[in-house]
């Protein structure tokens, strides 16, 4: 029972982070139709910048209890890097998908060295800063309260994003643009601005995800390329472009990974791809995706 709960809580924590990055990927794919390989870089960027921001906050003498809001703010701030990146991507919106994929691969390579330049090649950690919130007991299992807070924050962001897209005027315009860009342009929507905003929000989801993960694990140069394949797995399982799919996919991937680590460590990564391939074969559009040609 405790093993099961350990797996559950560990898996859901991982899923909460994965969901944020995958939601960014989905948002950008839904509106701009670009599969953004650089989402992993945004995640890593958030992680590195989060460490710097927490260090800076400590120098300012902020109490360490504020580590969570500092991390979220840091993620939001550095997420603005999405604006210039989108400006470059704008030149290739009309191109073939392979070129769009490739240009984001170029960004991924560039970001690798940005991290190396600013933060060096050795992994960086936040020396267990999350323990400031103590641990909670949950049905007989010890969990860091920080993990529960992150899960709550992720759920709040998911709800907020859903409300924003479904209920607000801006959200409606974004969904309309995703549906038919030419039509919304004809109705007077400046789609360049929508694209810039959507990409920046997508980027922020990634950077906040990265910033939130960093108290619990180190930031390293490998985290970008490793996360890309996991985020890909999430969106493939859930269905490209679907937010509910991102949620379901993140839970599936997070739980499978947590279970595999416990049961059969060799199959940790393997099991994810097996599920991905099974989903692609049985339901190529993903669990919540629309049918594809």
């Amino acid at each position: 029972m405790t093993v099961f709960l350990d797996v559950l809580l560990g898996g859901v924590f991982h899923a909460a982070i994965l969901f944020l990055v995958a939601a960014g990927l989905q948002l950008v794919f839904g509106v701009q139709k670009i599969v953004n390989l650089a989402c992993g870089s945004f995640y890593a960027l958030g992680a590195y910048f989060g460490i710097t921001a927490v260090g800076f906050a400590a120098q300012l003498g902020l109490p360490s209890i504020l580590v969570l809001p500092v991390l979220i703010l840091a993620g939001l701030a550095i997420g603005l890097v999405g604006l210039p990146v989108e400006r470059v991507l704008r030149t290739i919106y009309n191109r073939d998908e392979s070129y769009q994929l490739l240009i984001t691969f170029g960004f991924l390579l560039m970001f690798q060295d940005v991290f190396r330049f600013f933060w060096g090649a050795t992994p960086r950690t936040l020396d267990n800063a999350y323990l400031v919130y103590g641990t909670a007991e949950f049905l007989g299992v010890q969990v860091p309260t920080y993990n529960l807070l992150v899960i709550a924050a992720s759920i709040a962001i998911a709800l907020g994003l859903g409300l924003f897209l479904q209920r607000t005027r801006m959200g409606r315009i974004i969904r309309a643009t995703a549906e038919n860009r030419n039509m919304t342009e004809a109705m007077g929507v400046d789609s360049n601005r929508i694209f810039a905003a959507v990409f920046t929000v997508g980027c922020m989801l990634g950077t906040v995800g990265g910033a939130l993960v960093v108290p619990a694990s180190a930031s390293s140069l490998d985290m970008a390329v490793e996360l890309v394949v996991e985020a890909f797995a999430v969106v493939v399982i859930g269905g490209l472009g679907s937010m509910r799919g991102a949620l379901a996919g993140a839970l599936i991937v997070g739980l499978i990974r947590a279970a595999a680590i416990m049961v059969l460590p060799e199959a940790e990564i393997l099991s994810i791809y097996v599920v991905v391939i099974a989903v692609l074969i049985l339901r190529p559009a993903g669990l919540f995706g629309r049918a594809v040609a």
């Binding site: 560039m110 990564i269 692609l280 594809v292």
Partner: protein, 337 residues
């Protein structure tokens, strides 16, 4: 203006008119130049060229899928790995040192793996094909990475120097790589390049291009779309495995890094750098990538940034790659004269 570039990028003009074998001439020029290279170039340059031959062969296969069939594989490094690990297992574990036997095994194994994988993948096109191939590639990577007992895990597997045509060669590793193996790999590139040339010019190759342009129309005209795509997938896998075997010998090691998805990304990079719309473009791209990679790495530790920036600029301004630029220059020259 914008529409015009988009059309060019989508429908990359792969085949020039049938009567002009330009691509074959360009390949021949490269092969002859490479054959003469040992007369003038330093040993260091020659050791760079051996991996290039491996990449070039893999890229010829990759472009049969990408340039000619319109399927972007983001997991093609898997087949480099199949070739590399076949070489490592045979030479260091089983004591089979004949490189011809190694190549035959690599070809057989890659075809055996490519058949089921390809069967599942070619049902999809566009981004889904790319994602599925990426998933299979990473599946293979995680097997190589995690199962220490079989594959040596992240340490990889050593590759023992193979026998070429049953002959061992005297001298050290560098002498072997820049001497007999250099010409052997170049010979393979020439032969496989010629075979690929015949493939893309055959009715089969024309079917592939018809599928790329319009799969539905092609199938109305009687082309067996899935089967033809599968055949292209298997052929490109075989080329990848042969290239991987050459790479493994030149590195002296087969390791999981060779199969990681970023390596597949590098293959796409090379193909686009050279120009996936022409027959010889990817080979030129492989050469340019190897030289560029080497010189940027020598110049700065931040070579990834430079390579990434080059890739971004390339995609924006020169989507048809080096071969496309060369083609434009030639066309302008003709018009002017």
């Amino acid at each position: 203006m914008r529409i015009e570039t988009s059309v060019r990028a989508v429908a990359s003009p792969a085949a020039p008119p049938l009567s002009r074998p330009k691509g074959l001439w360009a390949l021949l020029v490269i092969v002859v130049a490479m054959a003469a290279l040992p007369l003038i170039a330093s040993t260091y340059t020659l050791t760079l060229m051996v991996p290039f031959f491996g990449f070039a062969i893999a890229l010829l296969g990759f472009n049969l899928l990408f340039g000619y069939t319109g399927l972007l594989s983001f997991g093609h490094a898997m087949f480099l790995g199949v070739g590399a690990y076949a070489t490592a297992v045979l030479t260091s574990k089983l004591g089979v040192r004949s490189f011809e036997l190694v190549l035959l095994t690599a070809i057989a194994v890659s075809a055996l793996i490519a058949l089921p994988v390809g069967y599942l993948c070619v049902r999809y096109t566009r981004i889904f094909f790319g994602m599925l191939t990426l998933a299979f590639g990473m599946l293979f990577h995680s097997i190589l990475f995690k199962f220490y007992g079989l594959t040596g895990g992240d340490q990889g597997m050593r590759v023992v120097r193979p026998l070429l045509f049953g002959m061992d060669s005297a001298g050290g590793k560098t002498a072997f790589l820049t001497g007999p193996f250099y010409y052997y790999a170049l010979g393979l590139l020439a032969v496989l390049g010629f075979v690929m040339w015949r493939i893309v010019r055959s009715p089969f190759g024309l079917h592939l291009q018809a599928i790329r342009e319009n799969a539905q129309k092609a199938s109305y005209l009687g082309v067996q779309v899935s089967r033809t795509r599968l055949a292209a997938f298997v052929i490109s896998a075989i080329y990848g495995a042969v290239g991987g075997a050459i790479l493994a010998v030149s590195i002296g090691l087969a390791d999981p890094e060779m199969v990681y998805w970023t390596q597949s990304g590098n293959l796409v990079f090379m193909a686009v750098l050279g120009g996936s719309g022409s027959f010889v473009g990817p080979v030129i791209g492989g050469l340019a990538f190897v030289l560029l990679h080497d010189s940027v790495m020598a110049a700065t530790q931040y070579w990834r940034f430079v390579m990434g920036a080059i890739l971004v600029l390339l995609v924006i301004f020169f989507p048809r790659g080096i071969a496309g630029i060369a083609g434009d220059v030639v066309a302008r020259f003709r018009k002017g004269s």
